[in-house]
């Protein structure tokens, strides 16, 4: 009886693994091939908690790929995106990355959008020697460098890390706004919110300011009246909201409704037309956030992208769209410069990027695989971008 049981387990295990195998007999053809097309993996959060960020990034990436393909591709090769959903789950992200690299024969993989899920793909990339790039994984530690500080060769990102934006906004608060007391309302359910909050606090306090309160919320919350009422009773000069537009828009609206007039600060998570829709124009005064670019920028690259995106999707692009678009351009540019579909050559080209001019800024790829680019701090007036201050990296 037990024998039969285990026999069965055994055979199902084998059958299970074999059926899994039979699905993928098509040979992974890493690069080279007949050089008519090049496969690029897209490993994003298309369903689950953070699906909106994943979908927005993929929109941008595919828009870039479409443009490139329409213009004849990379050195004559058409880009074939292999898009797989990771369900906003880190283990699934690992599995998808492995699938893309060992099964689908991609030369590079883009995404995931959030730091944790991106980190889950890093060991796979390092093992398979195929580059992974994220446009929005902002965590300071454990992304492009490992915990000992060594650079992860095959890992790149296009965005700022949390410390840069946290520090930038803290300096902006104490410098430009002469704030002495600040309140932090952070997205406690995302690594992004946590990282920004920590860096903001450290810098702001070092500059002589005090954090009078630090409150938290979780993604998809809609009611912030309780914490806003609580801080309303305290004295402070600015509110820092490390989080995404979906909640930040509501927080700003509810704060203004309750009569809280203090300036609101945020980071690139604010950059979305949805912020304006949620908060309404009246509430969006005295709101400042750091971003990669400003729509005020008259650079034709920026204006063309905004116009093209709008023509296609009927809305203004958000930060994920823009970063995704640049990510698509960036990988294509690297493949072109490498003039090869060998992942290692692509990796070298990615690392050796100088003066890449994207929508989200012109950058050199740094030694530590973080882009060296300046940020802009955008000021909103009635929901419209009115001011932008450029902040250069140290």
């Amino acid at each position: 009886m037990k024998k039969l049981l285990s026999l069965l387990i055994a055979s199902t295990l084998i059958i299970g693994s074999l059926t899994a195998c039979s699905g993928g007999q098509d040979k992974p053809s890493t690069g080279n091939g007949d050089a008519k097309e090049v496969k690029i993996g897209i490993n994003y959060e298309l369903t689950g908690d953070v699906a909106s960020y994943g979908n927005a990034s993929v929109d941008g990436i595919l828009m870039a790929f479409d443009e490139i393909n329409a213009a004849g591709g990379i050195n004559g090769m058409q880009i074939v995106p292999v898009k797989i959903d990771n369900k906003s789950d880190s283990a699934e992200a690992t599995s998808v990355a492995t699938r893309l690299m060992t099964q689908e024969g991609v030369v590079a993989s883009l995404g995931p959008a959030t730091s944790g899920n991106f980190m889950a793909t890093i060991p796979v990339a390092m093992g398979s020697k195929i580059p992974v790039i994220s446009a929005s994984a902002t965590a300071d530690k454990g992304v492009t460098t490992d915990d000992k500080g060594n650079v992860n060769d095959f890992v790149f990102r296009l965005c700022f890390n949390d410390s840069f934006q946290g520090v930038t906004m803290a300096n902006f608060a104490s410098g430009n706004l002469s704030a002495k007391k600040a309140v932090i309302i952070k997205d406690n359910s995302s690594d992004y919110g946590k990282g920004l909050a920590e860096n903001f606090r450290a810098t702001f306090e070092a500059a002589g300011g005090t954090i009078v309160a630090e409150e938290g919320y979780v993604g998809k919350d809609k009611d912030f009246n309780a914490i806003l009422t609580k801080i309303k009773g305290q004295e402070f000069d600015v509110i820092f909201i490390p989080g995404y537009y979906q909640e930040a828009g509501l927080i700003i609206k509810q704060a203004r409704d309750l009569g809280i007039k203090a300036p609101v600060l945020g980071a690139d998570g604010f950059d979305s037309p949805v912020l304006l829709e949620l908060a309404g124009p009246e509430a969006l005064n005295d709101v400042y956030f750091s971003n990669h670019y400003s729509s005020l920028d008259q650079d034709p690259k920026v204006q063309d992208f905004i116009a093209a995106y709008k023509a296609k999707n009927n809305v203004d692009p958000n930060a994920f769209n823009a970063l995704g678009y640049d990510l698509g351009q960036y990988i294509a540019d690297a493949i072109k410069r490498a003039n090869s579909t060998d992942p290692v050559a692509i990796k070298d080209a990615l690392a050796d990027t100088k003066g890449f001019a994207g929508v989200t800024g012109t950058f050199d790829m740094g030694e530590d695989h973080n882009p060296i680019k300046s940020a802009v701090v955008i000021g909103l007036e009635n929901g419209v971008q009115k001011t932008s201050v450029k902040v250069d990296p140290k």
């Binding site: 024998k3 285990s6 069965l8 055994a10 295990l13 059958i15 993928g24 889950a120 796979v124």
Partner: protein
């Protein structure tokens, strides 16, 4: 030692053979690293499902908080093996995580297991949410950012060892007087009490044992997937495990094993249907429950089917 009966030794040899075959397939790369991940997911899910089956299928206590116990095992194992990166550290981490989960299981089980049915389900769901919020706010767990860079000290060998240990030990438990006491609670709690079964004790025992093995699964998960964060162990994870158990059949260990494999193959297959994968998954879930609400095997084990065939043959 009667445990070394001929039957059991043959079983053992078969288990070793299965292990060896898969090991060979891995080393000659017929099972490549992608399928190896699927295999790992299957092993971890089987451990989770079999341990939940002990609580929900055999003892009849409806739990929606299995991911909570898994997360305890995962965090404890991750923290220990990040500080002592060695196989010994890993083994110690796994066991420490499992024990921690079992202790929490006892602490939570004693008050909540007096509840019945849906109320217990909601209470266990709440308990798992509380555990998750604690991990989200603790310094040592690094909050929402999670723990990354967990050394991968696990591989097919360890996964298989823990998988087999889980199946064999839970199977042994079920087929002992203690296990029968648990089953009697599922069948009729009042009658069980009147037959001298200390229902609270056995519910807590099953709950703790289930938590222990969920903790092992968590440790394996942390160690295999390098990275954990609180949101991995949310309500959805508990539901995923419950779906495996119900799909396989409440009270059927082999059912859980088969369902875990089927679902893993299905998920892998559905990966390519990016936009509609969750729709297909949901439709399948509803359809299976509509057409086979008792699950694939009901309360039977796959071995029972062979046995009943044999019996009828004899009679004829």
């Amino acid at each position: 030692m009667r445990v070394l009966s001929k039957k059991n030794i043959i079983t053992l040899l078969l288990i070793v053979a299965v292990f060896a075959v898969v090991q060979v397939l891995i080393s000659v790369k017929i099972i490549n690293s992608f399928y190896e991940i699927t295999l790992a997911t299957i092993c971890i899910n089987i451990i989770l499902a079999v341990s939940l089956n002990l609580v929900t299928g055999f003892t009849g206590q409806f739990s929606l908080g299995h991911a909570g116990f898994m997360s305890i095992g995962a965090y404890v194992c991750a923290l220990i093996s990040m500080n002592t990166d060695s196989t010994l550290g890993f083994i110690f981490g796994i066991l420490a995580g499992a024990v921690a989960a079992a202790i929490v299981g006892v602490i939570i089980g004693i008050p909540t297991l007096r509840l019945k049915g849906d109320y217990l389900a909601i209470a266990t769901l709440g308990m798992a949410e509380i555990i998750r919020v604690l991990f989200l706010n603790m310094e040592i767990t690094n909050g929402a950012a999670g723990l990354s860079g967990i050394p991968r000290n696990t591989n097919w060998t360890w996964l298989f060892i823990f998988l087999m240990a889980t199946i064999i030990l839970i199977n042994n438990f079920i087929r002992s007087s203690h296990g029968r006491a648990c089953i009697s609670i599922r069948e009729d709690e009042i009658a069980a009490e009147s037959m001298g079964v200390n229902t609270t004790k056995y519910k807590v025992m099953a709950f703790a044992l289930g938590a222990f093995f969920a903790g092992i699964a968590g440790g394996l998960y942390a160690s295999y997937f390098y990275f954990i964060k609180p949101n991995v162990f949310g309500f959805m994870k508990s539901v995923d495990v419950l779906v495996i158990v119900v799909l396989g059949g409440l009270g059927s260990i082999s059912g859980s094993v088969i369902a875990a494999i089927l679902l893993a193959v299905l998920t892998t297959f559905l990966q390519q249907f990016t936009e509609i994968r969750m729709i297909i998954y949901a439709l399948l879930l509803v359809a299976i429950m509509l057409f086979r609400p008792q699950g694939l095997l009901g309360t039977k084990e796959i071995t029972d089917m062979f046995k009943s065939n044999k019996n009828t043959e004899k009679i004829e």
